[in-house]
């Protein structure tokens, strides 16, 4: 896929030309990575649940090694959009989508795409921590086992737990039940379980809404670390969280017929200090929504 070979500068230039990014972010250590490009390219995505249109004409690019936050009022289609990125919506019988979601040069909605394999490469962390009723070790090793991995599981488990900033907390009790961990630890375990199968993109749907402020900040720090390796898309109702962690922020709104549309997408600092669209301004200043 041509776009996966793009440099950061080329990607940024393209986003600017598409009017999706209003200002280039400052150069940081992460920005300097030459291999960065677009992870997921969404073009004209429409989605329906039965006759109800949930998304209309969403076009946006998710850069590699960056965090994209999706914000907007309840019911604007944020979760539907994020679930389109690993076809989680396929599990809803009445769901259908058209448009293009390019990942690794392939439209995710083309016939022949293996949704199960896709979900390994595009992992997901949910609102409520959902560890399996198994040991900490088995939770992390689960994905590798079902994918038939034959290497050293211990190494995979340790690496994933370290990536999820959980290793020091659990290294002496790997074979204890995951359910004994605190809520914040459980959520980090779910992140470890996700990264253990080495995805390229991590989707997070309100990952901190069930956590206390300290656990929330730890997850946010972890997200910044993970963004050195993965593209992360996070849906959040917490605008301060989006402002703290995301490189880019997408603002979605419901139209009159309740379909979700992308209103504005750009550099997070611009969105929160100087949004270009009145709808964004009204929403983030709490005067609408």
């Amino acid at each position: 896929m041509v776009r996966s070979q793009e440099t950061v500068e080329e990607t940024r230039e393209r986003l600017i030309q598409l009017d999706l990014v209003t200002r280039a972010p400052e150069v940081t250590e992460v920005d300097a990575r030459p291999e960065a490009g677009v992870a997921v390219d969404i073009r004209g995505l429409n989605a329906w649940y039965g006759s109800f249109q949930a998304l209309r004409g969403v076009t946006m690019a998710v850069p590699r090694e960056r965090i994209v936050a999706i914000i907007g009022p309840s019911g604007c289609g944020k979760s539907t959009l994020i679930r389109c990125l690993n076809r989680m919506n396929d599990l809803v019988p009445s769901f259908r989508a058209d448009g293009v979601v390019l990942f690794e040069g392939e439209n995710l909605y083309s016939k022949g795409v293996d949704a199960v394999d896709l979900r390994r490469r595009v992992g997901m962390v949910f609102q409520k921590p959902n560890p399996f009723p198994k040991s900490i070790y088995d939770n992390v090793a689960f994905g590798a086992r079902i994918n038939g991995y034959v290497g050293k599981l211990d190494e995979i488990v340790e690496r994933a737990l370290r990536q999820a900033a959980l290793w020091d907390d659990v290294k002496d009790k790997l074979h204890k039940s995951a359910l004994a961990l605190s809520g914040g630890q459980q959520q980090r375990l779910c992140i470890a379980r996700t990264v253990a199968v080495e995805p390229e993109v991590i989707l997070m749907d309100e990952p901190c809404s069930a956590l206390d402020p300290i656990a929330t900040l730890r997850i946010e720090e972890l997200m910044r670390e993970l963004a050195r390796t993965y593209a992360i898309v996070i849906v959040t109702h917490n605008m301060q969280q989006a402002a703290r962690v995301a490189d880019y922020t997408a603002v979605m709104m419901m139209t009159e017929d309740r379909a979700g549309e992308l209103v504005e997408y750009g550099d997070t600092r611009e969105i929160f200090t100087n949004p270009q669209k009145k709808q964004t301004e009204d929403y983030i200043t709490g005067r609408f929504g």
Partner: protein
């Protein structure tokens, strides 16, 4: 989603800022009057009033910090509060400049004037007019007006040049005038700095409206 309490507090800090500005404006006008009319009592009042200006600035600053801490303002709300925070510092420093003029008025109260004061009151008049206009631009969120005001600073700079040259001539011709002339150069400098600080306010108005921080008219001093 109404934010009535926040809206009220946001309006309040802006109104407080305008109150502070009117205190400063009055201090500037009265300081030059105290100098011109050699009014000892008025100069003392201005110096005493500067404490009230300082207190008002800190009161507004605390309100702004409280709003940031408790309301997490964003977008134009955030820019408004940040602008107010910067503008009150400039206003307070203008008050200090007016106090400086009043202190010199006290020192010159028993001295015969070197000449009739024409240019110094003119500088004060332009600076106060610029201040008023900048606050109008703030109230009406008028970036174009803010940019235009900055050009008036050149007029104040030109008057400063003129006063400076004239006072140098006095000193060169008669060394007995050196102390009085030096004091008056300080008065002119204070007034020139007040006008410069108005351009800072104008920069904040542009930031408030357009979200861009740009340096506008860079004074030659």
């Amino acid at each position: 989603m109404a934010r009535t309490a926040f809206e009220r507090q946001l309006t309040e800090v802006q109104e407080d800022m305008l109150v502070l500005a009117s205190m400063v404006e009055s201090a500037i006008e009265r300081s030059v009057r105290a100098l011109k009319e050699r009014d000892f009592e008025l100069a003392r009042v201005i110096i005493a009033d500067d404490l009230r200006i300082n207190d008002k600035r800190y009161e507004i600053e605390e309100k702004c910090l409280e709003l940031i801490a408790t309301q997490q303002p964003l977008a134009s709300d955030l820019r408004t509060i940040v602008s107010v925070l910067y503008i009150i510092v400039d206003l307070e420093r203008m008050g200090d400049h007016a106090e400086g003029v009043a202190k010199i008025a006290l020192m010159l109260v028993d001295e015969a004037p070197l000449k009739p004061y024409i240019d110094l009151p003119r500088m004060a008049e332009i600076a106060v007019r610029m201040l008023n206009e900048s606050l109008e631009a703030f109230k009406h969120r008028d970036a174009a007006h803010a940019r235009a005001i900055c050009n008036e600073d050149d007029e104040v700079d030109a008057l400063y040049d003129q006063v400076y040259r004239e006072l140098l001539t006095f000193m060169a011709n008669d060394p007995r005038t050196i102390q009085r002339a030096t004091y008056l150069i300080w008065v002119a400098h204070n007034l020139e700095r007040i006008a410069d600080r108005v351009t800072n306010i104008c920069e904040r108005v542009v930031y408030l409206v357009e979200g861009r921080i740009e340096e506008m008219n860079v004074s030659k001093y």
